[in-house]
């Protein structure tokens, strides 16, 4: 099956903040391959290298060595981003725009014809349940609504690949459930979803495959069911075990 996202020996190093400090290796020789139609969970503690990996895939950061491609196109080429949708973690969209204007702006970037853009905007605002607030400035939106408008903008070009960076971060249980439902729906439509999350229960429910990364290194990768069977534990226990967490025993 075609690899939608692929990294080969991907390495990202950052310069030292001050002289005398060693350079920081954020990602160490990462090899990933995500196939079409998969929902792939990318897990790891804070600072593990998840966002850096996503930033390389999106062309925000250049890799020190190795290669990364989307749909077989080098991520450094802007055209590689034509068929993707991206939802960053906690973004505050242009506050002076309404949801409709924001989506129209992104539709113009993709050169979507006006009638098609109108249709998609209606469809997406319905999907993320923001129809009633479509004419309101984004500055009046709650955090959950902002996250949902973010999800709508990520879908405006009807992408084949969605990259979601902690899509449920900061949302209440209802907001999280709604986002999860949307991911599930996209999965049913055959979209490929690559997302990072700290919500392991959510990952276990939604994902076909997961990768756990710690200190920039890929520790484990595989189907959720296979990992659970192999380790005889749930995903949370596997995760804690892999990152070397030792529970403090109370007296």
């Amino acid at each position: 099956m075609e690899a939608i996202v692929e990294t080969k020996n991907l390495r990202v190093e950052f310069r030292a903040q001050s002289s005398g400090q060693a350079k920081k290796v954020a990602v160490k020789d990462l090899n990933l391959s995500i196939r079409a139609g998969e929902v792939f969970g990318f897990l790891g503690p804070n600072g593990a290298g998840k966002t850096t990996t996503m930033n390389v895939l999106l062309g925000f950061v250049n890799a020190t060595s190795g290669a990364a491609s989307l749909f077989g196109v080098d991520v450094r080429e802007p055209i590689a981003r034509q068929r993707i949708g991206y939802l960053p973690e906690l973004t505050y969209y242009y506050k002076f725009l309404t949801a409709e204007e924001l989506l129209r702006f992104y539709a113009r970037i993709f050169s979507i014809p006006r009638t098609e853009a109108d249709r998609r905007i209606d469809q997406l605002l319905k999907l993320v349940e923001l129809e009633s607030a479509r004419q309101r400035p984004i500055k009046t939106y709650s955090k959950g609504m902002q996250q949902r408008v973010g999800l709508a903008q990520a879908l405006i070009n009807n992408p084949d690949l969605l990259i979601l960076d902690e899509p449920t971060s900061g949302l209440d249980p209802l907001g999280r459930m709604k986002v999860r439902e949307i991911i599930q729906r996209l999965k049913n439509e055959g979209k490929t979803v690559f997302f990072s999350s700290h919500e392991l229960g959510e990952v276990e429910t939604v994902c076909d495959r997961v990768a756990i990364i710690n200190q920039g290194e890929l520790k484990v990768e595989g189907r959720v069911a296979d990992l659970v069977e192999k380790h005889q534990a749930n995903l949370e226990q596997i995760f804690l075990n892999i990152i070397g967490y030792q529970p403090q025993l109370s007296a």
Partner: protein, 259 residues
């Protein structure tokens, strides 16, 4: 091109949805109207004086709008993290810079049209004289000058982290060029070497924004600037805009996106 236009459209929307422009316009309008309504014994010099002050206000307002609007563009994109979904689309950093520049410059043009139109109506209704070509020439050269300022501030916005420090520094530099730029060669002559060469170098290096200040065309109803001079002045400004935009891109293409 569509991407650049889409980004510039957002900048223009921001300008007319924020209060800054309206505050400046109302302030300029009230002062112009108040001064225009005062009659100084039908003395033509005092009418010219009123025009001079009103045009000065327009110049200050336009500079505040240009610098204020441009200085916050890229830092706001980074601070609010809107740069991430934008660059995750098939958009290059160069297109972001061009879009921001075009948006700020066009927004300044729209603000200038409103301000000059208002001033022209007030001034014409008192003078019963409508020197339309003088107004158009002054407006065009003013707008071209603002293009250089916008490109310069955009460069500042990727060099300085805080928009306030960028705005302050660029405002001082622009005012310095406007007031002192024309005298730098004379200052150079009075200096010993190597300071003389440095000041001379500076004289030839800075964009001479003061050349675009043709307020006297309106105040004293002077002869029009020739078309060729206008075209050369525009070309001179375009070269500086291109240099500043290229500098902005060179800094921004390697810059980390998060603040």
């Amino acid at each position: 091109m569509k991407t650049v236009l889409a980004i510039s459209g957002i900048v223009i929307k921001e300008l007319y949805r924020r209060k800054d422009f309206y505050v400046l316009f109302v302030l300029t309008a009230v002062i112009t109207l108040l001064m225009g309504s005062v009659s100084f014994f039908h003395d033509t010099n005092s009418v010219r004086y009123v025009k001079d002050i009103a045009l000065l206000l327009i110049w200050i307002s336009a500079l505040v709008i240009a610098i204020g609007t441009t200085a916050r563009q890229i830092p706001a994109e980074r601070e609010n993290r809107t740069i991430f979904p934008l660059l995750a689309k098939p958009v290059t950093r160069w297109q972001v810079i061009l879009g921001k520049f075009a948006g700020c410059w066009l927004a300044c043009g729209l603000a200038l049209i409103v301000l000059y139109l208002f001033f022209g109506i007030v001034s014409g209704s008192r003078d019963h004289h409508w020197p339309l070509l003088n107004f158009c020439t002054a407006l065009w050269l003013h707008w071209v000058m603002l293009g250089v300022v916008v490109a310069f501030v955009l460069l500042g916005s990727v060099v300085f982290t805080a928009p306030s420090s960028n705005a302050t520094i660029t405002f001082i530099v622009v005012l310095g060029i406007l007031f002192l730029g024309r005298y730098l060669n004379q200052v150079a002559l009075q200096q010993p070497e190597p300071l003389r060469s440095i000041v001379y170098g500076l004289y030839f290096l800075i964009p001479h924004l003061e050349w675009y200040d043709v307020r006297d065309l309106i105040i004293y109803d002077q002869n029009l600037v020739g078309w060729m001079d206008c075209a050369l002045a525009t070309l001179y400004a375009v070269i500086y805009m291109a240099v500043f935009l290229l500098g902005t891109w060179l800094v921004f293409r390697r810059k980390a996106l998060n603040l």
